[in-house]
């Protein structure tokens, strides 16, 4: 250390008191008991942090200190304990924080090295592997996702109702994005007429279960993703058990009974449902988030009678359209999983492919809704007969 840096250190020591690892340990213990409110900040580099850190610490590398600390610790009256590897960088970081107006700044003498030598607890951060870092590099570059967000996606579980027109693009992109567990429930087999839009399947899968075909395609795309298949229809006997394991449910169903069944079960289990539907050249998307926005029954308390359900007939759909709508569902799902942006809660987004137009309608919660209103009993509602099956 040269003369000038010794001088900087001397001045920093005048500004910033130092605690030993024992004192910090004691203060953290008291904090754990609710006595004191202090923030522990690790100012080392990322590669040092990756080898272990003090549990509960925030990571603000010294190089980004001035830029990030006010976001990490907005309250400048809170005591801030800084540490680095040996106690030098944290002392200088402390002097910077003092300049920035932090009133109560402490540097841990001896740093992480001494902390560890004393045998105190060390946490190991979870990090992405080399291959994952490469695969998800474009996510890592977005601050709203980043490494923490990517780890969150890898820990996330999404259930797709149907591996058809909407489920195919949604599942494919969610798998590419690294959503760690994807459940697929579908009792159908692949038919040639599906291939115009259901991009998870291909010619060699005709006659195979769609859920199995989906698994093959997804696993070939991304080995990080675990696919759980249910060759089954969602019904009263299995709905609660199946959705319990998931964070978000993507509704790509084609019938009212399943939609009402899912609606009620998702309110009971407090799971958001990303709803989509398509018809010829138009589609719509919304998010039903229990108790934050309306549910499907707020919107449509009853299905239409069989004779009046014009959408039951094989109406046809432009093959690309469910691609657009299914991907909007995938986007909403990622937003919900990461807690970013403004999900389409209480908003119905419609897309008219021929006109090239998106528009939006506000949806309202019905305070009298039998499923999510004040005196609701979602466990006890009719799901109605399959009006389409009846009219067919």
């Amino acid at each position: 250390m040269g003369e000038a840096s010794r001088e900087i250190m001397r001045r920093a020591r005048e500004l910033v008191p130092e605690w030993t690892p024992d004192q910090v340990h004691e203060a953290l213990k008291r904090k754990g008991e609710g006595a004191q409110d202090l923030v522990l900040v690790d100012v080392r580099e990322k590669h040092e942090w990756n080898e272990g850190y003090i549990p509960g610490a925030l990571h603000v590398p010294r190089g980004y200190l001035e830029l990030q600390i006010e976001e990490a610790v907005p309250d400048k009256t809170k005591p801030v304990v800084l540490y680095c590897a040996g106690g030098v960088r944290s002392l200088m970081a402390g002097a910077t924080l003092k300049q920035m107006g932090y009133q109560n700044v402490i540097s841990m003498a001896g740093g992480f090295g001494q902390w560890r030598a004393r045998g105190y607890e060390v946490a190991q951060p979870r990090t992405l592997g080399e291959a994952q870092r490469k695969r998800y590099s474009r996510h890592l570059l977005i601050p709203e996702v980043g490494e923490a967000g990517q780890l969150k996606l890898l820990d996330s579980r999404v259930l797709l109702l149907g591996a058809g027109g909407l489920g195919s693009p949604a599942a494919y992109y969610l798998a590419a994005a690294g959503v760690g567990t994807i459940g697929v429930i579908d009792s159908d087999v692949v038919d040639e007429s599906n291939l115009q839009r259901q991009i998870l399947h291909n010619v060699s899968r005709i006659g195979k279960y769609k859920a199995e075909s989906a698994r093959e395609t997804i696993e070939a795309l991304n080995p990080d993703v675990k696919v759980i298949t249910y060759v089954d229809r969602l019904d009263e006997t299995n709905v609660a058990r199946i959705i319990a394991d998931y964070d978000v449910i993507i509704d790509g169903t084609d019938n009212f009974p399943t939609r009402y069944l899912l609606n009620d079960a998702s309110i009971i289990a407090n799971k958001p449902v990303v709803h989509g539907s398509v018809f010829r050249f138009e589609g719509q998307v919304t998010v039903f988030k229990p108790h934050e926005g309306p549910c499907y029954r707020c919107l449509y308390p009853e299905p239409p009678p069989a004779a009046l359900a014009p959408s039951c007939a094989e109406a046809g759909v432009l093959g690309v359209l469910p691609g657009v709508i299914g991907l909007l569902q995938a986007v909403e799902t990622i937003k919900l999983l990461l807690g970013i942006g403004e999900p389409l809660v209480g908003r119905l987004l419609t897309y008219d492919a021929l006109a090239g137009e998106f528009s939006e309608l506000k949806l309202y919660r019905d305070p009298q809704c039998p499923a999510c209103g004040e005196n609701a009993h979602p466990e006890n509602l009719p799901t109605y007969a399959d009006v389409c099956a009846l009219s067919a």
Partner: protein, 92 residues
């Protein structure tokens, strides 16, 4: 005349039109004029006296259930949107 926008599933009953015009000062009157022009729509939108529970009706993007229902005022420059529950998903 108010503009009435029809959800895709309703268009067959209106000769394929996406948007039609109808006259009236209230939603009830506008719908009556709509059914006069396209009788097949009546059954799909309002088979009974009251607005049916499987069709959502908006006047200028506001759900009429939270306005004055059939008595909601409709001006000549207003847009009525009819949006029935759709069965069609992506599965088929």
């Amino acid at each position: 005349m108010a503009t009435v926008r029809l959800a895709p599933v309703l268009r067959a009953a209106a000769g394929g039109a996406k948007q039609v015009s109808a006259q009236g000062n209230t939603l009830a009157e506008v719908l009556a004029d709509l059914y006069r022009q396209y009788p097949a729509l009546k059954e799909q939108i309002q088979p009974e006296e009251e607005l049916s529970r499987f069709v959502n009706v908006y006047v200028n993007d506001q759900d009429v259930r939270y306005l004055q229902g059939l008595q909601t005022a409709v001006g000549p420059n207003d847009t009525v949107i009819l949006l029935p529950a759709m069965a069609g998903g992506g599965q088929e």
